[in-house]
């Protein structure tokens, strides 16, 4: 482009330009974890968020109104200041994950160190996941989902729109699963298209 015909009428419809710069808005809103597209909520005693927040969620889960989910096992309301050493501790009924998007996703949680903390889950409307339940695929065929237990990238849970993984639990073996320094472990919660 760039050559202009001399005649006036000939320019009509060419619209040649070297560059255009136009600012348009992209609206991005960051929501608190409780109301985000992939929502994290404290586990409750009933199904699908009904009932009261579970005692474990009350004690070990932090989820401020407009903030982010965090788990804290450095103490308990009943006087503990940490986990037993040389022990395997499992905490059930901690939090739920809800798919508030518009399409089906597969969801899993993984810790930041291989072989670390293990996560467990109850699938949507099912306390006993099995390989026959489409919500509990078992891609690595290790049978974990037979116990409705595994909840890692090898054993994701399929969440339809509006569905939730309930009562996510975790197991920490001490000292094996402790961070090499400090007292913080990162868990990554992933949801992706199926």
């Amino acid at each position: 482009m760039g050559s202009l015909a001399a005649g006036g009428a000939a320019t009509i419809g060419t619209g040649a330009f070297t560059s255009v710069e136009a600012d348009r808005d992209i609206s991005v809103e960051v929501a608190g974890d409780q109301s985000a597209l992939l929502a994290f909520k404290k586990a409750t005693t009933g199904e699908d968020g009904a009932g009261n927040v579970t005692p474990n969620a009350q004690d070990y889960v932090t989820l401020p109104g407009n903030g982010q989910l965090a788990l804290d096992f450095t103490g308990s309301d009943n006087g503990a200041t940490g986990l037993n050493d040389n022990a395997s501790s499992k905490f059930s009924n901690l939090f739920d994950i809800v798919n508030q998007g518009t399409q089906e996703v597969e969801v899993f949680v993984s810790p930041d160190q291989p072989g670390g903390i293990a996560f467990f889950a109850e699938g949507p409307d099912s306390n006993t996941g099995s390989n026959g339940n489409p919500n509990f695929p078992d891609p690595d065929n290790d049978g974990d989902q037979d116990q409705g237990a595994g909840f890692s990238d090898d054993d994701p849970v399929i969440l339809g729109v509006g569905e939730r993984v309930e009562n996510i639990s975790l197991r920490i073996n001490t000292p094996d699963d402790l961070p090499s320094s400090g007292n913080t472990i990162q868990m990554t919660i992933v949801a992706q298209e199926t």
Partner: protein, 210 residues
Amino acid sequence: MQRRNFLIGAVSTAIGGSALVGSGAFTSVQADRTISVNTADDTDAVLAIRADSGANATEYVDTSGGTVSLDFTSTDSPGDGSGVNANATTVFDDLLNVENQGTQAVIVGHRQNFGPQKGALYHEDYEDGSITRVGDVPGEFDEVPSSIGSPDNNITNLDTASLKNLAVLEPGDVLEDIGFFVTPGTNPATDFIDGQITFTAGAEPSNIGL
């Protein structure tokens, strides 16, 4: 309680103006969140395991390393004992107590890596009747050592005791006066080498391998 900064996995949607309304579709979300964790000495942990008060606990319970251990190989002066008698039943009362410092009721017991006929832990919390059993069985736990011959009472061995007789601890409850006995059939010199007792507590029988 310690808080750390998060790496925020921002959830971004880039969809043109009016199309945004009501869509909420996302391809993937990856969110990093933190778990804060540390260990405590047995005395302060979620399942607190402590030395009882009294002479036996002082003598035979060692909590110095942060985890509890029992040592019956010798006694201090003026006792000067250097071990348990052979061909005898030896009972050590009032060694340990266990407190549930978690958030929900748990069934408490133990497992051991030596045969149940060699000896076991038991508790005498029947004395004040404050601790309930899984089966909510009326009456009191049998006395030890009279019940040593019937491991179905307040022996806490999960592999031998009946589920209905195991103690249930509500949050804040303490199982008191846990003792240990050695039976006549044992060879103390060899039977307890690397002996290990594992305390196990869980909300449901299935949580503790029952």
